[in-house]
Symmetry: C2
Amino acid sequence: MSQTNKVRLGIIGMGNMGSSHLRFYLEDELPEITVTAVADIDPERLEWAKEECPLILTFESADALINSGEVDAVIIATPHYFHPEIAIKAMKAGIHVMCEKPAGVYTKQVKEMNEVAKNSNTVFAIMFNQRTNCLYKKAHELVNSGEFGELKRVNWIITDWFRTQRYYDSGGWRATWSGEGGGVLLNQCPHNLDLWQWICGMPVKIFAVCHEGKWHDIEVEDDVMIYAEYENGATGSFVTTTGDFPGTNRLEITLDRAKLICENGTLTVNELEKNTTEFSKNSSQGFGRIKYKTYEAELDGENPQHTGVLNAFAAAVLRGEPLIAKGEEGINGLTISNAAFLSSWLGKTIDIPFDDELFYNELQKKIENSDIKKNVVSSVQEDMSSTY
Amino acid sequence: MSQTNKVRLGIIGMGNMGSSHLRFYLEDELPEITVTAVADIDPERLEWAKEECPLILTFESADALINSGEVDAVIIATPHYFHPEIAIKAMKAGIHVMCEKPAGVYTKQVKEMNEVAKNSNTVFAIMFNQRTNCLYKKAHELVNSGEFGELKRVNWIITDWFRTQRYYDSGGWRATWSGEGGGVLLNQCPHNLDLWQWICGMPVKIFAVCHEGKWHDIEVEDDVMIYAEYENGATGSFVTTTGDFPGTNRLEITLDRAKLICENGTLTVNELEKNTTEFSKNSSQGFGRIKYKTYEAELDGENPQHTGVLNAFAAAVLRGEPLIAKGEEGINGLTISNAAFLSSWLGKTIDIPFDDELFYNELQKKIENSDIKKNVVSSVQEDMSSTY
């Protein structure tokens, strides 16, 4: 730990997200963090960082940064495939880790990362910044308090991830099996998949149809429908795409004694006087109705996003305070997306846990046939502030 | 035709719906129809009809009514399995037919009915009264005008069909494979399935999970998720149940240049300045946005429901005016529900058209294992006015 009692943070990967994290620091939003170092394989990105922050140390590899002795913690903001590999190296070197989402591309690799985390004394966190959104925090709280009974159904239409062809052309690795390992489920939806499992729990069965290159000239999926089943028999649907505009973000959760709807920044609660299951069993009327009241849940209005997650991470490193999301939980959303791919590729329903090796092998086939785009426009740094 | 230039109508089946139709007549809502006869196998129901309408003729069988010479047309409101059989008899006897929904239980049987209709000179209609709802009429018009481009996606959450156990116990044939041939898809959803195909066209592929007896002590499905694919690649999801309260009825349709949402009696239009597909291809911004305006579609406020369908039927018989829904179109929604059953029973995606014989054989297996409920409370006539 540095003498000033701040966490000395290294940022690995100076792409879109890594640059954003550096900006949060430069804008004084991270009171307990000093960004001491950055690493990237692209010298231009290091130069950019140096211009923004002249005192910063720059490294041409993650290894060099991790072993520099200049950082207590790292944030990993590289392409997805490298997340577990770098996290493992850092944790083995006693460096705390904040991993960008997704945790990795395939569960087999992420399990190894989680195994190392279990046996290390470092803090391991993942950037699920959407968990800081008071809307989802409240939904998580209401569902998990149990006050409204068991989950019956969840439908999430999350189609407000519109991207143009230009977006996909902004990097040769983008939207390829070899470079990114997936499309909307791996790049845009990790937050939604995490929130889904955070609020409703993990499903035990997945059927999905992932349409690859449907709305864009890309290899990976840009249109997905997932059907899920839970241990208690509850069901879920999840619809996403980067092809629709204006999209929808409507999360509807039916519990035995309430229906919740998250949409347009509000959480509407329909609270029943009685449990549906009991009423249905005992009513003397075929078309019975249960009395209920409809109201907006009170939200605390907070939504600190990335800086909230980073500040909680620093507090965890410095004082053992709780994280927003433990690194080990990154595997949950990834398990759903891997299962969705597997279901779509094999055309059948997948039980969770599924065979990690089978998924890995199927992914390799995709990678072997992957065709990293040759004619791409030069890498662009777009404003990512609204894209998390 | 009777001398007063009204259609002499016979109602076959004096259950819930048949009784409602008689009431429409008694309440003077059918100016060009005279209900001259009713048929039911239950003498008590015939007695009830006689009390309500002393001049009415009563018959103990559909055959006797059809061959009585006292009717120009019939409305078939028997249990589902009998619809095609009775319709065929009536049309062969030169009697016009209004068939209650669903057209039948399995497409093989309905195809025979449609074949007879093709070769007959009678008017053949089906009671898709929801097509008269100005909300869906407008959605049909907007989608089919083509002004907003091609269909991309449709999501219908239609879970406001809550029924208690008491409802299912109200008749021994109810919610059994042998008596009714299906649950929520056959009894509650035929309207929604018809509207779905009427507005969006017929899918070419169906995957579905139909949960049988999930929320009630019944044999048939009361919880369903359908995934659909269209010829142009568009996709759809359809979620329904009789187990949720308060349910949802939210139909979202994404076109290339608009998103429509039917909910709470309004049709919200998000109209884009440009087609999404073209914009996505040509935009110079990765996170481009298309300008759009949001407004409520103007509706004519009309919603004549059953009486609208019956009066159009009379006008078709008397003057050849257009029907609300041609009888032959009944097979479309049924094709979707049959495909959904088949998909769920076989655990795989079903191409449309599917093998009618295969479905019929699978249905027979269900019927063979069917267990008509022994201990049911006596048949009740509930107010059906809000149930279509």
